[in-house]
Every structure is written in structure tokens, then in C-alpha cells.
Amino acid sequence: MTKLRSFEKPTGFQDLPPQLTRKRRKIEEQIRQTFERWGYEEVVTPTLEFYDTVGKASAIPEQKMFKCMDHQGNTLVLRPDQTAPIARMMASVLKNEPLPQRLSYHGSVFRAQENEAGRNAEFYQSGVELIGQSSTEADAEVIALAVEALKSSRIESFQLAIGHVALLDGLIRERVEKEEDILRLKECLGQRNMVGFRHELRQLPISEKAKQELETIFCLRHEQAPLVQISQMTSSSQVLTAMDQIIETWNHLQAYGITSHLVLDFSLIGSIDYYTGVYFEGYSSNLGFSLLSGGRYDHLLASFGRPLPATGFALYMHRVMEASDLQVDQPQSVVLCYTPEKHEQAIKKAMMLRKQGQAVVLHRLDDSEDMGELTACFDQVIWCTDEEE
């Protein structure tokens, strides 16, 4: 370990210089407005939470959490996501509010990363939760809102891939008996390891037909969703219910007029054992990483003693910023140069202009100064000197 140099910061944490901060604010403002227009009210959750409550309920694995201790010896975690703290709020401060609740947030979450390169430890997320509604209308609403949010952040070419975790689970469970085999297959899909999935499948003591069916649905990309194929190969009520939900959700999304941005992919799984229904991820053509993810998580709120269905999504703002075409110009600013004896007048003038919405910087004139360098930084120069009068 070398001695820390004064400019260093912990791995995975980022400084945002003015230009980037402006861009983030601007995009966040667009997204905030979009959320507001859809009736989602913003909440703020604490940066630190108890490990035993929020930490345990979170979809984020324990080894990825930053931990510390309070003075009573309780383990605390830096908020690993926003959904678990909001679930806790639903069971406490929002206990008596009418359902459904439409909530939104803008804030940082923290994840300790094993591999450094390009993986942030703190990242800013904007997202929504729609709590207390199990209908397919709710599933469609959050997907449509995710599309709107991407549009409002000026991301030109993007796609959301939608899966259904209960459909995936049901199709596998109908064919594979042992719990450990099911888990292994799901882990392969979770890691996007199609080679591993086919390999595990081949090892299983199940019929060739069953293997073929699972491979067809999960490993091949389809021009169109393989709904007809699935309906012909299943008698599981779980799968049939999930299919109805997918079809209904899709119909609602057609009503929103956004299906050109959507594809169905039933191999998507998200965090294993967290999502319970529809799950989705968003990508744009100019960035290699996903921009958002979300879905239905009907079991989470029960761990806070208030079982309620819920769905939502989170946008990864650092990636949205990178993918966004939004141009953010430096705000117009004026420099007001004054000689010392005119200081009071200069202040008055500046205050007046600021009231009118101008950005004004006060600058005392100095004889030795290179005025060219100074004025180049500003859009306009106003003089407040003796010579002027």
C-alpha cells in the first residue's frame, strides 16, 4: 500500500466537474418532470440503513454492501438500492396513506465492487415504485414511464427487453424436478451464459423433448415472441397465468403506442429470487451497458410486515448521461467590472440584474490585469467605473 496522495479518492467514487454536474441536473430535471406528470411523488431515504432490515431485504448481495457500525454495535449499510428503503417507508411513515402509492426518487446508491475498472461504487439513480397494485395496467405503466424517461433524457435509439420471471420459473419447474438443478439453470441465465445453460440442460435426466423445448425458448432469439410455442408446450397454470399477464401487458403497451421500443425475451431473470413477474432492462445503441432495469417484486414488502404487490424501475444516471444527446450550454453570464470607489453602485446593479434572472459576477478592476483573459470567460462585460460617467 503506497501512501495516499492528496488528490486521491476511494476507488469507484467520482468527482463531477461543473460541466458534468450541469448535464446531470438537466437530465434529472427532465426525468423529474416526467415522473411528476405521471403522478409520482418524490421521496428521500436515509443514506445509512440497518443491515438487519433494509440490507437483508435488498436485492443486492451482502458482499457488495459497504458496512459500518453505529455506537450500539448495530451493523449499518450504505443504502445499496432505493427500493428496500422505500418498502420500509411503506410499512412506517406511509402506513396510513391510501393505495396505490406512486413514489419516485433521485439519489445515490452504494455498491462495493470486486473488480475496479469502470464499475462505480457510488452511482446516482432516478426511479419509481408503484406500490399496492398487482394489475397488468401497473406493469405496463412503469414500462411506459421508463420509455418516456429515456425519451425525455434525449436518448435517440433505445430498446427495452421484457421478460417474465414466473413464466421462466414455471417452464423450467414443469420439466426439471430437483430444486438444485432449477437453481443452476437459473444461475446460468442470470449470468447470460447460454453455453452453460445448454451444458447443464444436457446433463439433466429429463426427456430430449423437454430439453429441446427449454433450449428453444431461452437460448434462441426470436423474431417474434414465442408465445404460441409456449402455449403448445405447457399445461402449468403458473405459466398460463404468466402468459396471460404478458399478453395483457403487451396490449396495454400497444395502447401507449410504444411497442416499437420493446422486445420480449423470456430468458431475462434479473436478481434471482427477487423479481416475481414482469422484469425488464433498457439499452441504447451508443452505450455498451444497460441504462435501466426494473420489474415486479411482490414479495419484498412482506419482509417489512406489510405484504403489498409492487413494481418499479431504476435508471442508472451515469450511463443515461453518457448515452444522452442532450447538449448543455454554459449559462449566459455577465461580469460586472468596477473600480473600488464604485463598489456600492456595482453591488446594487448586480443585485438588480440577478433579480431579473441574469448570472452576474462582480469583479474589482486591477491595473495590472489582462482584461482579454477575463472577458473571454463571460458573454458580456459591464463596466462600473469613473471613466464611464
Binding site: N115, A117, G118, A161, V195, R221, V263, G288
Partner: protein, 210 residues
Amino acid sequence: MLTFAMPKGRIFKEALLLLEKAGFEIPDEFVKSSRKLTIALPEAGLSFFLAKPTDVPTYVEYGVADLGIVGKDVLLEEERDVYELLDLKISPCRLSVAGKPDWKPPLYPRVATKYPQIAERYFKEKGQQVEVIFLNGSVELAPIVGLADRIVDIISTGQTLKENGLVELEEITTITSRLIANRASYRMKSKRIMSLYERLSEVIQEGAPT
């Protein structure tokens, strides 16, 4: 345009051969001269660049390459977030633990390897406490000079081990090369990737030993 990250060295020639079998015309200059690091095939809508094998998953994860060809050993070690689409069945080898023929568990077991993550995981799962020592190459040297009592490395013919008086003690897993894809490319360029996937999988089916 689809961009391919290709691994320099061992896998490269076999990977090119596979692409040729799948109907892509690869210019000779790319095959012969390892100095040329990039090449474009505009008619096929493909471009290639050559990278160090361990870096291939990184290029693909970041999306500067849509696709990559890389050994499973690198994927296991790097754990990058990419789609593993196809087993290309080329460059087969094993990832194994090796040591001197008369190896017995010493008091302070040390394992030298280019694959520290894989080695850590493997011995942890076996319930063995070992000290893993990372080396950049010539791993076989470690037991000879006494740096470590065992090594974890890839073995294809076993010739190098033999020449250094070592034997394979345990096989960790078998390794072949894989076609990997960036997560966003897999969505946004799905048609082109799937057509390439199909062309490659046909060639692999034909050439399969079974």
C-alpha cells in the same frame, strides 16, 4: 458493422479458420502478419481487432467490440458481464492443478498461477487453505525453483509439464473457446449477431466429433 475482438496467440488461427469455414473471406495479411492489429471486411459488415486474450472480455463488456472470441479460462477468471453465446469447440484444453509426481500436502501449501481468481475459488470449494501466488507466465517454473509446490494452469498436450518434470494432479475443468457478445449489442444489433451465430453454429455442428 459488427466489431470483433480477437485474441492474439494460441486461439487466433483456429478462430480465423472457423470464420473462413463459415464463409467469411479473411485476407492473408491478417492471417500471416500479427503486426496488423485491425482489419475491416466492409462487404461482410465486419471489422476485427487483435487484443491480448485476457483483455477480450473487457473490450466486449465496454461495447467497443460487439463480439469476441475468447477461452473459457479467461471468462472464468475475469467474470465480465457479457453474453456467452456459443461454444466454438476450438483450442480444447484443460485447466488443471499440477505438481511434482511425488507431491504430498506440505505444511504451507502454495499455488502459483496466472488464474488467481479461479485458483482461489477452486481450493475454497475443496475446503483447502492455500496461498495463491500470481505469476504472469512460465508458471511451470514455480515448483522447480521452489516458489510453490503446485500450479494451476491450462494444459493442452501436457508436453510442457512433462519437459519440466511435472504431472497433472487434478483437473479443474475443460476449456474451449467461446463466442461472447456485449449486452447492449446483443439487443441493438440482434439480427446481425444472430445470423452470424447461426452461420458459426452450423460449421461447429459439422465439425463436431460426435
